[in-house]
Symmetry: C2
Subunit: 172 residues, 2 copies
DNA sequence: GCTTGACCTCAACCTCGGTTGAGGCGCGAG
DNA sequence: CTCGCGCCTCAACCGAGGTTGAGGTCAAGC
């Protein structure tokens, strides 16, 4: 990132002053969105955005792409996997630039996700608070942990640390 | 995971009934903590836990390792990088099994981290709420996004989407 | 006395969200 | 004419957090 000035000296909208319908080059999108060109390519491969090509095979984006990119960045920050975002965005028309209702649906969905994640963290925090209170991340009593330490001195073992919350979803 | 029954038929605490000072085999730690053996090896490589070896070169863990593992799992769920956790845990004595004060310090630190992360998500949520209200993830007005879409029709470009929050810390 | 099972090591592979680099095209400026 | 840049493609790599597999040791059990 951090190359030339805006306005892209060289090629983009040859012989026209900027207009509402104007198409953006990848560099312009990068500059305006703050997202690296490489990331835009990546998003395109992942089906998060799409482009037409001009006579020189260069990507041309309708301005609506800025919204999409913004949405993608937000989703990433919310911890939503790109595949999920791609799925959601695929229901939007490529060209229609998406209606208010489209975005409303997405943002409402993510709001729910966010709520859930916040709640999980808050539960975790409350548990942690209990532990600070007792001063030991108290095994055996603590709701965060409950392996067989003091408790299971000889018991039938295999208590997992599983503390509700399954959203980490790793393991490949 | 999900192999044999607890008690590890084969080798572990040969010829002794379980006692408080007893050392655990890696399989036992795995069973009791719910963490895969491979992950325990991994944690050891990363300096999160440590083991002694018995006469057969097999890992033997003091029971305190269960606490450490629990703490590691919690930290992972909090989104704290293992390197950070390792750093924190390195200040604890390997053998001393850690005092209440040790854990208190850690949990207080992480509580602060957690608070911060919760706040970030809440800010995000509030912003998202505004967007649901206006129905468009409203570019140009929205505090989530502010690229040069309707606003910057010809302006000096390069508004990034940067929305406060730097803690995602990616980019390798 | 062979199999089974827990353990060992080391190396390779996985997903996710990208970045980096090599090699090439085409255009406009100097 | 050459330079530089904006773009193109494709492939490799990064770091995090592990998992998987190959190849070997050792003690117990049938």
């Amino acid at each position: 990132m951090g190359n030339s000035s805006p306005g892209a000296p060289g090629n983009p909208p040859r012989g026209s002053r900027r207009r509402a319908e104007e198409l953006l080059s990848v560099g312009e999108v990068a500059a305006r969105s703050g997202v690296a060109v490489s990331a835009l390519h990546f998003y395109e491969r992942k089906g998060l955005i799409s482009s037409r090509r001009d006579d020189r095979n260069q990507r041309r984006y309708p301005r609506g792409v800025l919204r999409r990119v913004a949405v993608v960045r937000i989703a990433v920050r919310l911890g939503i996997p790109l595949a999920t975002v791609a799925h959601a965005l695929r229901r939007l028309p490529d060209e229609r630039t998406a209606t208010a209702a489209d975005w409303r649906r997405l943002s409402a969905d993510w709001r729910a996700e966010l709520d859930e994640r916040i709640e999980q963290l808050q539960r975790l925090r409350d548990d942690l608070d209990g532990c600070i209170g007792c001063g030991c991340l108290s095994l055996g009593r603590c709701s965060l942990i409950n392996p067989g330490d003091r408790l299971g001195a000889d018991g039938p073992g295999a208590r997992t640390l599983d503390v509700s919350l399954e959203r980490t979803g790793r393991g490949g």
